[in-house]
Assembly symmetry: C2
Homo-oligomer: 189 residues x 2
């Protein structure tokens, strides 16, 4: 969503069949709420196809990747790693620090702004390895209650971008929904 | 979450098997992010059981109901009805009006505060009837992009409560997660 910084969502783990819809929703939520790219495990081809199809119809830019080296992606990521987990620090306590770390903060003096850094947001599916907790720059809990990785990702992205993601424009869409008080209007884009 | 006002989430439509996890996640998200009660269609007994089980272990108060009269619930609801749909008005444009309608606004002069009213948040599953669009006081889109009803609900609740839901306390829990920078600590509550 931002030229100088890439926000990537990594879905960690996927059980074909059982997780298909959740993984698809992780990808669609990442796209709709301002991430630039989602990485799925390579056994999540069906979810990747759905997210690419939606991007083709409703616009981008948004990239979908299938990779078999989740551990290496996390280990070698050149930027800030956030791991969303119910065991993490409270999002309301660390969101400012995350924004500062990737240069999304707005300091009082502009010359004190942090440089833009890429951000990897890891969303657990199956059990994630302990190494992920250790590698993450921030383990973040959107509440410390069990709920939904999709809900956690959504609230995290909305707070990361401070709502700016809701106003983004879409390129190369072939259709567009017109927001309405009462209606279901879709027009050619 | 609030003594004077009940926030109820209604999951509209459920296909057993196919929707089980999504419906469960709607319920868990409603609980974690400040709603007081969730209503599932009566064929979603398995999801209801899971949400009740989590409430028993991690605390409440939070109620789970199974009902077979979804249309009547919406039609007869004594309060404000919000329908989350990608065709609706943009959440950033209407969230203040919703907060005012249920008395969650904070006007400059306290005597101008709206009285608390109950709120029904309808989350579509299967195709919802046109009557729902007409009955809703607000059709609200968390983006006008196709993504996830769980993500939409999460962002809507976080904005409705202005983040206050993240600090809520839980009663009658038998366990509690301790937020940590690196760790997975659960203690007896």
């Amino acid at each position: 969503m931002n030229d100088a910084r890439e926000v990537v969502v990594l879905r960690y783990g996927h059980r074909p069949g059982r997780d298909d819809r959740m993984t698809t929703h992780v990808g669609l939520t990442a796209r709709a709420l301002g991430a630039d790219r989602v990485i799925f495990p390579d056994n999540a081809g069906q979810s990747a196809e759905t997210v690419r199809d939606i991007t083709g119809r409703f616009g981008g830019p948004f990239a979908v990747e299938l990779r078999d080296d989740q551990k290496a992606i996390v280990r070698e990521f050149d930027g800030v790693v956030v791991h969303l987990t119910m065991y993490g620090e409270r999002v309301q306590d660390v969101e400012t620090a995350v924004r500062e770390a990737v240069g999304l903060d707005e300091p009082e003096a502009p010359e004190e702004a942090s440089p833009p850094r890429d951000l990897l947001v890891v969303v657990g599916g199956e059990k994630v390895p302990w190494a992920l907790y250790e590698r993450a720059d921030f383990n973040v809990g959107v509440t410390n209650q069990p709920h939904s990785e999709v809900a956690g990702l959504a609230v995290f992205l909305d707070r990361l971008f401070d709502g700016a993601e809701l106003g983004r424009e879409w390129a190369d869409a072939d259709r567009r929904v017109v927001p309405e008080a009462t209606g279901k209007t879709v027009i050619d884009a």
